[in-house]
Amino acid sequence: MAATFLAFGAAVQEAGLSPGWALLACWGIYGMPGQLVLVQAAAAGWAGGVGAAVMGAVAVNARFLPMAVSLAPILTAGDRRRLLPAVPFIAVTPWAAAMRTLPSIERSLRVRWFLGFGMTSWVVAGTAALSGFYIAGALGAEARAALLFVNPLYYALLLTADLDKAAPRRAVLCGAAAAGLVLVLPPAMALLAAGLLGGSVAFLLGRGRGVG
């Protein structure tokens, strides 16, 4: 995860934004795909307008909604207000770690575990992004290419780690296949549509096999 935020910091520096902006994006949005959409828009001089950039960033981070839906019942079966401090930390890395780890942790300790993991992730993310920002200017072409490749590869590996389970495997394969919608839709809309279509098809396939 630190490598992805290191790469993000470098991209922010190249886009001409400030280190404070990098830090606030890490902590405020805390969803790398959306952060990258904004950085790309800034690099292009906000050519499509701020509204379009925001919609693109929200669309690419729309997975926060189903992530929270799937995570909340695992964190607590009781009062939802107990989850409010944990809400800002719902993002890919804490979510993936929580879905894998929490079922084996006593239910009364789960929110505390998630808060600890989330806050640690925030500190690592902010530190890495600032480091990336300040070292970006000193990098050569190869190092820059390596940094740019970190984010897509990291998320691909996160998904790969779950491929041994049938339900995630179906969702990943269907989502990847549905990415072809980019050929007929604008990129931000294509991503959202691919997620909804691929995820729904994967869900229905699982229901058809009686495994949810």
């Binding site: 994006a25 800034a42 929270a68 909340a72 590996l157 790969t160 989502g175 990415a179």
Partner: protein
């Protein structure tokens, strides 16, 4: 307010709203509920689509890296990840190294 700051503020607020809405919707549901299974599948599929587009058809400077290098890096990372369970860092390093080697050769 500068465009970058306004975009950041709006995106952060809406993303927080999405998270809150998810928690509110999920409050009384069990993990076996069909709506939860569907939501999980949509989240994973969206991320898979994002990764696919970012590697096959990237925007910005990553597009300057040849497709063959990107695919070789991805394949290497996935293979290492599958053989070294729970160890993402070695897989990440192997994938990046392979990408750089193929990039230099192509």
């Amino acid at each position: 307010m500068a465009s970058a700051d306004l975009a950041l503020l709006l995106t952060a607020l809406i993303c927080l709203g999405l998270r809150l809405a998810g928690v509110w919707l999920a409050g009384g549901l069990s993990t076996e509920h069909p709506a939860i299974a569907w939501a999980t599948a949509v989240a994973q599929a969206t991320l898979a689509a994002f990764v696919t587009l970012a590697i096959i058809s990237p925007a910005g400077a990553l597009a300057d890296v040849p497709l063959a290098a990107r695919l070789a890096g991805l394949a290497t990372g996935v293979v290492v990840c599958l053989t070294k369970r729970q160890w993402l860092l070695p897989a990440l390093l192997a994938g990046i190294t392979t990408m750089l080697i193929v990039r230099a050769l192509v």
